[in-house]
């Protein structure tokens, strides 16, 4: 009796084991983990990012998945809170055991999760901007948005082309503006541009006339550059116009969105900023390698979600596509192989730019991936 039971039990165990094993070989999904700020103050980043990930994971699965395996998106909402981000990252690598992570809407959330993710040796593609994420290079951490340093470089290239050598800098004291200010100072020194006035405003300020007056009264200043985020740059733009400062005005990529145009209104007329080509899909030249990809993304997003596309969703698109490309290149989800494949991606055409990764550069974008746009008649115009 007991022998029979034992035999039956053994048989059962063998069948179960075989079942699990064969199941794993047939359609074990590739798990893509993500933590994004879908609600809370940074929801304008996380919301389009999640929508983009969902949309393209579905699309890839309909087309047969990656390496014959479907993708599975495991997502958590960190609500813009860095400590939540850390907890969810821990859950992703420990409990969900995801193969790769695409997420981290803000620099704060990303940097909070980095130590944990590095320890678990999981490839991680961040969607946040600051240069600290990939400088110094961390073996397992990559990112898709251009760093603020590149934005500063691109703006100053444009200034040099216009023969501007002396500028006034105004920046926010939030994380984005502070980092941008430091990068601008370094780039300016390297490119031989003098910053004659360097003023700041807090993100909650409602009037920047006082700061701009200092800039206006310095007659040597040839152009003004504002590095900031949120609604403040729109207030700066309005105050700039009210004070009648008749000099070229630049904003950063932080306000490259249509809602900025709505807020700033006619005061934005004539200002320039570096931006992703996503804002001007129709103005791109026909031979532009990004044109078809940008247009396809913009059309697909707007058709599916019935809202206008944002630069931030584009970061998520690039993150997902880089992950897929790396897994295909590696031929498996072996983490070290995927990491190496990511590191060696060359000429990957994305929405944000053309990625050329290397062991020393885990962002892979050059300053010219930013396009300089000018506000003309309340819309964006691409400056060649």
């Amino acid at each position: 009796m007991s022998k029979k039971l034992l035999r039956r039990g053994g048989l059962l165990a063998a069948t179960l084991a075989a079942g699990i094993f064969s199941g794993a070989q047939a359609a074990d999904p590739i798990k893509i983990g993500s933590f994004l700020s879908v609600t809370g103050p940074a929801s304008f980043l996380g919301d389009p990012e999640l929508k983009t990930l969902r949309m393209y994971v579905d699309k890839i699965n309909e087309e047969g998945g990656v390496l014959g395996r479907p993708l599975e998106l495991v997502h958590y909402d960190d609500e813009g809170n860095a400590s939540n981000a850390r907890n969810y990252a821990s859950r992703l690598v420990r409990a969900d055991r995801v193969d790769i992570i695409v997420g981290g809407s803000t620099t704060g959330a990303t940097m909070a999760a980095v130590p944990l993710i590095e320890q678990s040796r999981t490839p991680f593609i961040s969607l946040a901007g600051a240069v600290v994420i990939t400088d110094p290079v961390k073996p397992w951490v990559f990112k898709t948005p251009q760093s603020d340093r590149l934005a500063a470089e691109r703006v100053m290239q444009d200034m040099q082309e216009r023969g501007i050598t002396k500028i006034g800098l105004i920046s926010g004291t939030g994380g984005f503006g502070r980092s941008g200010r430091e990068q601008t100072q370094q780039v300016a020194e390297a490119m031989g541009i003098q910053i004659l006035e360097d003023v700041t405003y807090s993100p909650s300020d409602t009037d920047m006339t006082a700061q701009l007056t200092r800039i206006r009264n310095n007659q040597d200043i040839e152009a003004v550059f504002n590095f900031g985020f949120g609604q403040s740059p729109a207030i700066v733009t309005r105050n700039f116009a009210q004070l009648g400062i008749d000099r070229p005005f630049y904003q950063s990529h932080g306000v490259a969105s249509n809602s900025f145009l709505d807020l700033a209104g006619s005061a934005a007329e004539g200002l320039r900023l570096p931006a992703s080509p996503i804002l001007v899909p129709d103005s791109l030249a026909d031979d532009d390698p990004q044109k078809t990809i940008v247009q396809a993304y913009v059309d697909a997003y707007e058709a599916r979600w019935n809202e206008s596309v944002s630069t931030f969703g584009g970061y998520a698109y690039d993150g997902l596509m880089l992950a897929v490309a790396a897994i295909e290149e590696a031929g498996s989800t072996d983490r070290e192989a995927v990491r190496q494949a990511l590191e060696n991606i060359q000429g990957h055409v994305g929405v944000t730019g053309i990625f050329n990764m290397s062991p020393n550069d885990h962002n892979g974008l050059a300053a010219d991936s930013f396009r300089i746009l000018e506000v003309v008649d309340g819309g964006w115009k691409l400056i060649e």
Binding site: F44, T173, T200, D207, A210, A234, Q242, S259, A264, A267
Partner: protein, 291 residues
């Protein structure tokens, strides 16, 4: 040099007049009930946001403004009826906590209805600024300062010349005695909330063209208004105005001459100094403890 000073001064007066209006709202309710109404900033937000959305629906600016003020007035009454009145036996600290909860609630609703984005509102009279002695002044500044002045004059008249105004003052001085002489203290309290909601929403409407407006603008401006009220002396109408203008001008001067990094530090430094030497604020009532 002088034009710079003028520029900073005008900037300070504009924002200071807003602070003063918010502070007046705090003062009104404090006078009637000894409650500091932390939902005051939310009235301001309702004023701005409702106006913007009514304009979006196609109403002309004046109609939108009146609609927004009515909505805020309703909210003021509702706040008093449904949140404060049921807890009337509670001491002021409890009531203050209730107003904080109400503020979070109103903000949450506003976020659902209007979303999280910022909205802009056109200037009342054109975008072309006026030049005074080398300084540039936004036309909206005149509206802010003018409307604030009219409201203040109106309030002074209301409290010193009308029966209802005197009834509010009487209630604040001694509730029991006020009731004994036939004042309906419940009505007085409701009236105070209504008035301060109207004040707050007007402040929110007139600054919206300068600051933009969003569901969370009430947090920051409300706090600054409270600080202005404390600086001037809680409960003093004149103090609210002096406190608001002082705060605004100190902020603007610091941002202009030193650095905006120290703007808040300077403003709060002034407050610490004032409260240290004059604990009741610049214009606060003398403390008379009766035994």
């Amino acid at each position: 040099m002088f034009s710079e000073f003028l520029q900073y001064l005008f900037t300070g007066i504009t924002i200071g007049a807003t602070y003063a209006l918010i502070a007046l709202g705090f003062t009104l309710i404090y006078n009637a009930s000894h409650v500091i109404n932390f939902a005051q900033g939310e009235f301001l937000m309702i004023g701005g946001m409702a106006t913007v959305s009514l304009i979006g629906l196609g109403f002309p600016l004046p109609v939108a403004m009146v609609g927004a003020i009515l909505l805020a007035a309703l909210m003021g009454i509702a706040l008093q009826r449904f949140a404060i009145a049921p807890a009337k036996q509670a001491d002021p600290v409890t009531l203050i906590i209730i107003t904080i909860g109400a503020a979070i609630f109103i903000r949450g609703i506003a976020q659902l209805v209007w979303g999280r984005g910022y909205h802009s509102m056109p200037n009342f009279s054109g975008d072309v600024p006026v030049r005074i002695g080398g300084a540039v002044v936004n036309t909206q500044t005149f509206w802010v300062v003018g409307i604030a002045a009219v409201l203040v004059a109106g309030l002074v008249f209301f409290f010193t010349k009308t029966m209802i105004g005197k009834a509010i003052l009487a209630t604040s001085m001694n509730k029991v005695a006020a009731r004994l002489v036939g004042i309906k203290t419940d009505m007085v309290l409701m009236l105070a909330f209504l008035l301060s909601a109207v004040l707050g929403s007007i402040a929110g409407i007139i600054v919206a063209p300068i600051t933009f407006t969003s569901y969370d603008i009430g947090i920051m401006l409300g706090l600054k208004g409270f600080v202005a009220a404390a600086l001037g002396g809680l409960g003093s109408g004149m103090g609210a105005i002096v406190g608001g203008l002082t705060l605004g001008i100190v902020e603007a001067m610091t941002a202009g001459y030193i650095s905006s990094d120290y703007k808040d530090a300077a403003a709060f430094g002034v407050i610490i100094l004032v409260l240290f030497f004059m604990p009741r604020g610049l214009m606060g009532a003398r403390v008379v403890e009766r035994v």
